[in-house]
């Protein structure tokens, strides 16, 4: 009898890229629901625009590169990139900016470097930074969280704002948008206010900015799910948070009136999202265990430095991109001890 031949191991393999990416998307759901709850329909509309654009861009460029389209579309990697970018964008961002960002992420950052697995930079973060430096005003016009928002927009009003730039006639952009808490903290510190004065503002909640802190918690839940499902390991999130808390804690201990409390750093902006979902992007992160700790820790420290003294408050994106560049070097110098080589646990 004759049989077909192929190489070992034999058996249905337990894992695949679609499952990995699918579970990342699933883990994002609680945080996305929280974002929609606090910041309105715009979040969801951004996600839809981004995903459609990403899939179309992925399909188009794969065709141009003469690569099979279907396996790459169904691996969900483009979808993950799109969603990660979309939830980092202000809820009322004009539609074409979202599309521009996604196109940049998929076409330039991902495919021009060789596609999935070959890109040295995190596509979502690179696109975020592109939009931030190109459209600084639009990118910093956030909505206040739901409990502070005096003029919540309906679904159709949101659609109109995103696609037509029009607001209901009794409202102006200044009236409905506000700076992000990070931005506000920066501006007010610049005006030489003390932390205790700044904390009087109703935008601050129990341990971070109101609304934001809870978004962070829900993303944390998703992150723990990824840890439990072993999609990510603890190294990068732990080290990144440790780096941020240690550096911000140190300065806070010296000067609690001009340096925000470490908890504020942790639960504001994209820190939790970044620690569990963005810095852990395997393609662009360090891959050795020790390397992941160094990589995460340096991102955490860099986030603190950029937030405290940098030109933009949106530090996670910059810190991740900077460390993306360092990842290959970190990997090279942190190779684990190979079995049978002398080391400290094999004396």
């Amino acid at each position: 009898m004759k049989f077909p031949v192929h190489t070992s191991p034999y058996g249905g393999l337990p894992n695949n890229v679609t499952r990995v990416m699918g579970e990342v998307l699933l883990a994002l759901v609680p945080g996305i629901i929280a974002l929609v709850y606090y910041f309105g329909w715009g979040v969801l509309i951004n996600i839809v625009i981004a995903v459609i654009t990403a899939l179309a861009a992925e399909a188009g460029i794969l065709r141009l590169r003469k690569r099979p389209v279907k396996p790459s579309l169904t691996d969900l990697s483009a979808t993950v990139t799109a969603v990660l970018l979309a939830i980092a964008l202000p809820p009322l961002l004009p539609w074409w900016m979202t599309i521009l960002g996604v196109l940049f992420a998929i076409v330039m950052v991902k495919h021009l470097y060789g596609g999935l697995g070959y890109n040295p930079f995190n596509p979502a973060m690179a696109a975020y930074v592109l939009l931030l430096v190109s459209f600084p005003v639009a990118m910093t016009q956030w909505l206040p969280p739901q409990m502070l928002n005096e003029h919540p927009l309906t679904f159709t009003q949101t659609l109109a704002a995103i696609f037509g730039g029009g607001l209901p006639h009794d409202l102006t952009w200044d009236a409905i948008t506000s700076a992000t808490p990070l931005d506000a903290m920066r501006e007010q510190l610049k005006m030489n206010k003390t932390i205790s004065e700044i904390a009087q503002n109703p935008m601050w909640g129990d341990f971070g900015a109101r609304g934001w802190e809870w978004v962070g918690n829900w993303f944390l839940l998703g992150g723990l799910f990824l840890l439990w499902r072993r999609i990510i390991t603890w190294h990068i999130p732990f080290a990144m948070i440790a780096g941020l808390l240690l550096s911000s804690g140190l300065f806070w201990l010296f000067d609690a009136e001009s340096m925000p409390f470490p908890g504020f750093h942790l639960f504001s902006g994209g820190m939790i999202l970044g620690a569990f979902f963005i810095a852990t992007d395997p393609v662009t992160a360090s891959t050795t265990p020790k390397g992941r700790l160094i990589y995460g820790f340096l991102i955490g420290v860099t986030v603190f430095i950029i937030r405290s003294w940098g030109g933009y408050p949106d530090a996670v994106a910059f810190a991740v991109l900077l460390m993306n560049m360092a990842a290959p070097t970190i990997d090279y110098y942190t190779q684990p001890r190979v079995f049978g080589f002398r080391g400290k646990d094999n004396a």
Binding site: M1, K2, F3, P4, V5, H6, T7, S8, P9, Y10, G11, G12, L13, P14, N15, N16, V17, R19, V20, P71, D75, S77, G115, L116, G117, Y118, T233, P282, V283, A285, T287, T288, P289, D331, Q335, P336, R337, V338, F339, G340, F341, R342, N346
Partner: protein, 526 residues
């Protein structure tokens, strides 16, 4: 310091997958009847190929040595039954390449008549261990766990490497395979007897028998046999079920806490590791004077009707073995020799069972689906987490794919044991081990080429140098002669030949002058 119990150490990585042992566990289907033709490959082991010492048409008896080895690393081959040598030629053999290799083809006569055997050595502990090694070598015993490394070489560790621990490998970590399990359950005494011999031969202080905890019957049987034997310092250790626990390096680490050095062998750290079936074969060789003629083979998978274990004489075709296990079911899709992690698939079943054939896995399409198209590596590091050698498979893959074989060596390619854990966990379904095998083969080829080029260069340089030397010597000789001559001349024209020549020349010149003068005179007077 924390004192560890044997078996309380751990190895990095590894995988869990359904062990599928219950398909065939504990089932013995008897001995496969002798077919008319046996095909015995001359290479059934690691090392030098055996050389046939029988002739075509010669009648051989059961147990007779039909191929011997002259190299140190190798194992002889014996006739599994009596019969006539039909031919010695290239036949297809079970090898991943699917190529043919020299085989002795034996026509059985059905008499199963034993030839002359060496005497049993029941009082082996009065003998010189080297005689026992000689007996093990004569018996053609190789590692029966699948690697087929000659056991006589393994137990000849040399006086400068004292052995503390004899590790007996009963882990049987590959899914599906149950032949060692069956052996331990039903013939524990035979295994323990072999351990006794091996302990004496390698002069070890203790023996640790490692068995995965998914084989409670085997553990109980072995514990009982050890207790009955009265052997001190022999301990059955239950180890966790995790692939590749049965890898030599992994089991030694778990049992003793010691790591076999990179590019090294266990005896360097005072350990020798032998499979349970090998120990049983040692018993036969020493206690009964019988060579290795057959082995237990697991025949399993959804593709056979009656899975179980069979005693198979070497040289029997796999098709005959499978027929004995109820034949193929409708679901038979792939034939795998060995386990699903490290085995290889065969294109044909008309191939002989050899010493290393521990399992015939007839897999259904569900058990061994065709591989998916590989996706790009996303550098998730799952392979790294699973690698028992603590390598960075993602980097090795990257460099193997780029054919950068210096880099693959820098990342310790040759510490890869090809266990397949990385390929198993890879979400992108990249056949990683295949890349490493490729890189290893290329590196070997390159090194061979380099060696040859180096040799050629050295030969060329030697030749050029030789020619130059000869030339130099010739010139030196000439110069010496010349110098000697000049010296002589300088020392007062003491050269009679030269003086004679000069004198002659002078005379000729004078004569010419005279003649010229005479002609002139004649002209003037005319």
């Amino acid at each position: 310091m924390i004192t560890h119990k044997p078996g309380s150490w751990d190895f990095h990585g590894g995988i869990h997958r359904p062990d599928k042992k219950s398909v065939s566990a504990g089932k013995f289907l008897g001995k496969v009847p002798l077919p008319e033709i046996l095909v015995l490959p001359l290479q059934q082991h690691i090392g030098a190929m055996a050389e046939a010492i029988v002739e075509v048409g010669e009648r051989v008896l059961k147990g007779q040595t039909i191929a011997r080895v002259s190299e140190y690393i190798g194992a002889p081959i014996h006739a599994p039954t009596s019969g006539t040598v039909v031919c010695i030629e290239e036949r297809p053999v079970p090898h991943p390449s699917g190529l043919s290799a020299p085989c002795i083809v034996l026509q059985t006569d059905g008499k199963d008549e034993w030839g002359e055997l060496p005497e049993p050595l029941p009082y082996f502990d009065d003998m010189d261990p080297s005689l026992l090694r000689e007996r093990i070598r004569w018996a053609g015993i190789v590692g029966l766990g699948g690697a087929a490394f000659p056991t006589s070489v393994k137990v000849n560790h040399g006086p400068d490497r004292p052995i503390q621990t004899l590790v007996i490998n009963g882990a049987e970590c590959e899914p599906y395979i149950t032949c060692d399990d069956l052996l331990m359950r039903e013939q524990a005494d035979r295994v323990v007897e072999g351990i006794k011999v091996l302990l004496y031969v390698v002069d070890a202080d203790e023996c640790l028998i490692g068995i995965e905890d998914n084989k409670p019957e085997a553990i109980a049987a072995m514990r009982e046999a050890v207790a009955e034997s009265g052997l001190k310092d022999v301990q059955v250790v239950q180890v966790p079920t995790r692939y590749p626990m049965g890898g030599e390096k992994q089991l030694i680490k778990v049992l003793t806490g010691k790591e076999v050095p990179s590019h090294g062998i266990p005896s360097e750290i005072g350990v020798i590791c032998v499979n349970v079936a090998t120990a049983a074969a040692v018993t036969d060789a020493v206690m009964a004077g019988r060579p290795l003629l057959s082995r237990l083979v697991t025949v399993t998978g959804e593709g056979v009707n009656n899975p179980g274990n069979l005693e198979v004489p070497f040289g029997v075709f796999m098709s005959d073995v499978i027929a004995q296990a109820g034949g193929y079911s409708e679901r038979a899709y792939k034939l795998i020799l060995g386990g699903p992690m490290m085995g290889f698939s065969l294109g044909d079943d008309e191939l002989p069972v050899t010493k290393g054939s521990n399992c015939l896995l007839v897999a259904s399409r569900a058990e061994a689906p065709d591989p998916d198209k590989a996706m790009p590596c996303i550098r998730c590091g799952k392979c790294m987490d699973a690698c028992p050698a603590q390598l960075l498979p993602q980097q090795l893959y990257w460099y193997a794919k780029a054919r950068d074989f210096d880099k693959t060596q820098e990342y310790n390619l040759f510490d890869c044991i090809e266990c397949g854990c990385c390929s198993w966990v890879c979400p992108s379904h990249i056949p990683l081990v295949q890349y490493y095998r490729f890189a290893k083969t290329e590196t070997w080829a390159m090194e061979k080429e380099k060696r040859q080029a180096e040799d050629a260069r050295r030969r060329h340089e030697a030749r050029v140098e030789r020619l130059e030397r000869l030339e130099r010597e010739r010139k030196a000789r000439l110069r010496q002669k010349k110098e000697a001559l000049e010296k002589k001349t300088a020392a007062g024209g003491a050269n009679p030949r030269k003086a004679a020549v000069e004198a002659a020349m002078k005379r000729v010149a004078e004569k010419k002058a005279r003649q010229a003068q005479a002609e002139k005179n004649t002209e003037e007077s005319s």
